[in-house]
Symmetry: C2
């Protein structure tokens, strides 16, 4: 019964329908919603808002943790609700609207959104909509499968709508660790020094009178869309795990490697799965999202603790993990994304960050976001938070795409998200390039020799040789630097 | 008398000539030398090494804090000594050799070099050469006008050569604060929470038996090359200070602004000078290099404390500051560059970072380093350390260069050092663009309207309009994106 989940009795009369709650959201408002990597998003109120907007148009600025599930970004886009959207998304309908210039998308480092709110550099949310498993006796909000930006949204918003989702196991309570940095100029160090440290509270502390509506829902998170490893992702995992073994052998790492971060997606998931059969022990994660592979590693006795900001599982894994949460609960913590991705912590812990590149160039600059320099895919997400300060900043991708029309390694990337200064290791199924301590001309040699698909190696070698003849610290032929992307746009493939 | 400066008597017999000390450096060695922004570099040993190499060739990997004075990079380059050089330089002879591919230059975030050494990701220095004002009774080294990477170089090197420079005021002792982060996985927070906190020791703690040679010198640092403000730099300062006033008026900052960081160079120096006549009070700096303007602000009663990693002054200011150091000493501290530039501290303190751009594009990506995407100027320095985590990441540049042949605002930068995600404010003498919370298309509008020189505004407007018609989150016309740079290379100017 939902009344047991609202443990502050005075809030019971705030229960209302999703449509009634959505009516609190007015045209022009800034709204902060829960949801991170399709986990723990508020489900009923945004849907009701989209329904209402079909009859009575309105526009809002929508801030979330990261991507939403249950096609909510699609519904909100189709209903014309989104004027502005930040800091991340993965929805194809919204993506089209962003690329058409219809929705203003502010693509941000995931650790930074609430810092900018705290400093009044972004408009504060008028209203927050947060999914919860419960409201405590104090009126504090217990999140569900993600923390994301929920805590700061609830703290900064004037009004808070809570969705109590009966589909989530109530024993998620206790999993979260809510820590909010203090205001400058009296901010103190974040007191987290180990992956499993708990430094905050298990619920979001807000004055209960800010809770203006409670909506009861019963709808699961969307399953993750991660597919099974294939021969290329297995190849990437193979090269990367061999490299990590060598790092251990050479004394640069202990056999537990240090805390791992893995971006969302097939390749990073495959790499993590590859660790099951590795010689490493007592692995830990300090990551944004905990995926199937995290629990596979825990089940295999390989992983002793995982810290994230969300749990996003496949249909296969979902019932098993959340139905048997007690089995995992002492090995897990979910934190605000400001803390899961915080540069201070990433640098302190010495994280191994594994993220996916859309393309990279022969000098090691990485494009994570823009197809042919213009069209947004998803957003930079947390990749910059981790790569800049990681012990090892690793980017992975298959060497070719679209059946060989596209090389993921190009003369010059068409958009830069991670500069040569922030990229240590590049891996494709062809091999691994270790760029540490190398100058650009040396990087090019290692990248071309190790990462490029054979179909493109000669052309890149030619480019590099000709560019070196012209000269420069980072040799380029400006007339040809983007020619592969121009070919792709004009002919459908990068090389004639 | 130099013997008074070597307070551990057992080290007196280590005094030798620069040539004898330089003989300890062997072909193929990795050498870590003091020196940061042309301050506090070892002077005699590298010169002796260059002399020796003319007779008996040798190659080394040279690591410093940042740039060296006294033409040392020039002499070492001309003598063919430099095989590899990191993490920064400003010498025109070395620059030519780097761009010719003769010296492998590893351009690094200045906070990261010693982190990579600590993690064995770069070869440890075989030998360190450190300028000092004194050696303590414990055999610890008291640096001179910079700390840079000297402490970690001395700690990591097997052997240490100390240059005692009699030209430096011995009462520099006490100015330094040497703190070294502990090794992972037991690293703890850096306990610095205020600009004026002292968290370490006043000398570099090494076992005295590592000191294998002491060379006595008497040669000043090179004066800074910063020129006086001109009408353009005054214009930039005017726009920026107006903006800061508005930030205070709107309650986003207090009247002391928060800690300031200013990159080296004329424009940043002019902006800092502009603060003398501003209404702000009790200013502080948490920066890399303290320049003339720092002391002008202290003298004017505007600045209460300045933390840096070096002091680099003009001839005009040098004798006055170092001859009257007692006047400033309680308002200054010099730290290792790992700490002056540390992401953890930059984010905690909420620094206002002011750095110079070579060029930026209509979407706010900044090129700090590469002329036409290929030829290295100096290096990224600390600009990335600060910009990524600053409260405000500000980049400044004059809107045109080379008498109007070059626009500093271009359709697409030819090299990216700071991505759109890391750039808040852009300023030229034309005006200021506040990019916070804006999507790329909105950024372009603000940048073109405010920062571009009138001679280039129409052409950029045309590019942007045509690109928007094609579409994309970050609209570009790939065939034209680098055409301004191509024109420049081929015709000497960006537009026909």
């Amino acid at each position: 019964m939902y009344r047991e989940r609202i443990r502050l009795n005075s809030l019971h009369d705030k229960v209302m329908s999703a449509a009634e709650a959505a009516a609190l959201i007015k045209d022009g408002m800034t709204v902060g919603m829960s949801g991170f990597t399709r986990a723990g998003e508020a489900k009923a109120v945004p849907q009701a808002l989209a329904e209402r907007a079909k009859l009575s148009p309105l526009k809002i600025t929508l801030m979330t943790g990261a991507s939403l599930g249950n096609d909510l970004d699609k519904q909100l886009t189709e209903a014309g609700v989104l004027a502005r959207r930040m800091p991340f998304q993965v929805d194809s309908t919204l993506r089209k609207a962003i690329n058409a210039g219809e929705v203003m998308f502010i693509d941000q480092h995931l650790s930074e959104t609430v810092e900018q709110l705290r400093n009044k550099q972004l408009p504060l949310p008028d209203i927050a909509v947060i999914e919860a498993v419960a409201i405590t006796e104090q009126g504090h909000i217990v999140p569900t499968t993600s923390v994301g930006n929920s805590a700061s949204f609830a703290i900064f918003a004037k009004q808070v709508i809570v969705e109590i989702n009966m589909a989530h196991n109530p024993n998620l309570e206790g999993l979260h660790d809510i820590y909010i940095p203090t205001y400058r100029p009296t901010r103190t160090p974040i007191p987290l020094v180990k992956v499993d440290d708990r430094i905050g509270s298990t619920a979001i502390p807000i004055p209960p009178e800010k809770i203006v509506a409670i909506v009861i829902t019963n709808k699961p998170d969307s399953p993750s869309t991660v597919s099974e490893p294939d021969s290329e992702t297995d190849g990437i995992a193979f090269h990367l795990i061999n490299f990590l073994k060598q790092e251990v052998a050479e004394g640069r790492m202990s056999n537990n490697l240090g805390p791992l971060q893995a971006g969302i997606g097939n390749i990073a998931n495959a790499v993590m799965c590859g660790l099951i059969d590795s010689p490493f022990e007592n692995l830990t994660m300090y990551s944004e999202v905990l995926q199937d592979s995290t629990f596979d590693l825990i089940d295999a006795g390989k992983m002793s603790f995982a810290s994230g900001s969300s749990i996003t599982l496949s249909s296969r894994r979902n019932a098993d993990v959340f139905g048997n949460l007690e089995r995992y609960k002492d090995k897990l913590v979910l934190r605000p994304q400001e803390i899961s991705n915080h540069p201070e912590i990433v640098r302190r812990l010495g994280i191994i960050g594994i993220n996916t590149a859309l393309e990279f160039d022969i000098y090691g600059n990485v494009n994570s976001t823009h197809v042919c320099g213009t069209r947004m895919m998803n957003g930079i997400g947390g990749s910059g938070d981790f790569a800049r300060n990681a012990h090892l900043a690793i980017f992975v991708t298959k060497s070719i795409a679209k059946a060989g029309a596209i090389s993921s390694v190009v003369p010059m990337v068409s958009h830069v998200d991670h500069t040569e200064h922030d990229v240590d290791i590049l891996v494709t199924e062809q091999g691994l390039a270790d760029l540490r301590g190398l100058a650009p001309r040396e990087r090019a040699r290692v990248i071309i020799d190790n990462c490029v698909h054979p179909d493109f190696r000669e052309a890149l070698n030619d480019y590099f040789t000709k560019a070196c003849a012209i000269g420069g610290h980072t040799p380029h032929i400006l007339r040809e630097a983007l020619s592969w992307h121009i070919n792709l746009e004009e002919t459908g493939k990068m090389l004639p």
